[in-house]
Symmetry: C2
Subunit: 293 residues, 2 copies
């Protein structure tokens, strides 16, 4: 089976017109390409939930800061299409930058609360770029459901907030982080890691695993959980922690004691890569997915 | 025939579900209520163009500045519903503020170019409020077409820009200004005018008519056209001109000589009211709609 490739919004609309008229459910997985098992798990869930599965591949310049890795961001469209064909994806939307952005574009979607913390502090404008492109993709594909990974936890919550605040008629589904066997969260940016950095990067998931153990033993104080994280990470000189924080799982507000669902999220520089990872802290729930340290 | 009244987004969706599934075309006329013939002309066009005609009535707090007339803005829902019933409107959406805005809302649509001039200079944030609520209404009603008056010319162009930049799947239709017999552009805010102010307000359309005459005689220099406007308006001490400008009809950029379609737009305080009006300047086209001075 060969997947249908659309390079223009017009072609996407044309391809999906009949499906929409027939009342078929459409699922969308927005990606920046260079796909890994994390993306493919989203695709599989989207296929299960919907009649039509669409994937977009677009490295969105609007969400990269001037000193970030827009140019270096890994790309391999041929391999991506092969993987998506194999998954039985119906449509892949691969627009050029000029297809999505007019030179005199002047409208942005902005988020002014959840995007102020965590990655948003170090990446001003990043989440406005994400919101803007995601809304555009929603308006082009008009899916019933859209799928995002929980690795980009802040992004997921911001998109849910956008959908709520703008009455966007799309159901947002967050899917669990997919990890390498040794615990490293899958990311297209893992390609930036050389062998020593790859090994050092393991300290991130190990640190989260230790915090989870403490949490499961009853520890509810963020500062204690975060001390454990920092201790583990700081033992690796190749890893520079940018932040590690415990925040409310929904509105990302600071948490004094974990009483309801929270997220422990971190970002770090490891060699050339900026990596993020997180775990959910759910009082009363034990999570078997996360590898024990 | 009694029009269907929906107070919640949920009810709107429910009411329109069947129509949408049957492929019927839906037209939306977003208003702030206190309807006049200008609104009704939009409704009539929407009815002609579509199978289903929906009207929203919502005085949007987000588009009012702190010193503006949000509280005083005229309201008469009963009369509005009577008028809309008479026009054969199918659905009227009348949400409360709490239905559209969560207390912790944090997402805005912002326009950063066309909204910088004309009314945008004096009303910071106004057009972001307009864009945000219009996008929300579009997402709730999901119309095929939406209708806006050309009296709010800058608003119309900004909404067209939003639709372009965010790939919103709605066709935007601008409809001509409707005027009183004596030339005053219809506006819900005309209710603020007492008799002397009402007479003084006439100078605005008269001034535009004079500029049109000059234009039709071949005058293409904005400063000459605007001098004529200012001269006429300044003869009325009750009228305080806020701005009068000639701008490109599409992107609202300044115009040195009118070579392609332009707009001559003005805003003025007349008594308690802030009024706006405009004419299109189209080289090669004469407009018969506008009353001659």
């Amino acid at each position: 089976m060969v997947v249908h490739l659309a390079k223009s919004a017009e072609k996407v609309k044309f391809f999906l017109n009949d499906a929409r008229r027939s009342g078929l459910a459409i699922g969308l997985v927005p990606t920046m390409g260079f796909l890994h098992e994390g993306h493919l798990s989203l695709v599989r869930t989207a296929r299960e939930d919907n009649d039509i599965c669409a994937v977009s591949i677009f490295v969105n310049p609007l969400q990269f800061g001037p000193s970030e890795d827009l140019e270096a961001y890994p790309r391999d469209l041929e391999r991506d299409l092969r993987l998506l064909s194999r998954e039985g994806v119906d449509l892949v939307f691969v627009p050029e930058v000029a297809e999505l952005y007019y030179p005199d574009r002047s409208v942005l979607v902005t988020e002014n609360l959840l995007s102020r913390c965590l990655c948003g502090s170090a990446r001003p404008g990043h989440f406005d770029g994400v919101c803007t492109v995601v809304l555009k993709l929603f308006n082009i594909v008009r899916p019933d459901r859209a799928y995002f990974g929980q690795k980009d936890y802040q992004q997921l919550q911001i998109i849910k907030r956008m959908v709520r605040d703008l009455n966007v008629p799309v159901e947002i589904i967050g899917c669990p982080i997919v990890r390498e066997r040794d615990g490293l969260a899958m990311s297209s940016r893992n390609i930036y890691l050389d062998q020593p950095a790859r090994e050092a990067a393991l300290s991130l998931s190990r640190a989260l695993g230790e915090a989870r153990s403490l949490f499961e033993e009853g520890e509810r104080r963020p500062d204690v959980l975060l001390s454990a994280v920092r201790r583990t990470v700081s033992s690796c000189p190749l890893v520079v922690l940018e932040y590690a924080e415990v925040r409310d799982a929904e509105d990302l507000s600071p948490v004094a004691t974990v009483k309801k669902q929270a997220v422990l999220a971190l970002a770090a520089r490891v060699g050339r890569a900026r990596l993020i990872d997180n775990i959910l802290l759910e009082p009363g729930v034990t999570c078997s997915r996360f590898p024990r340290s």
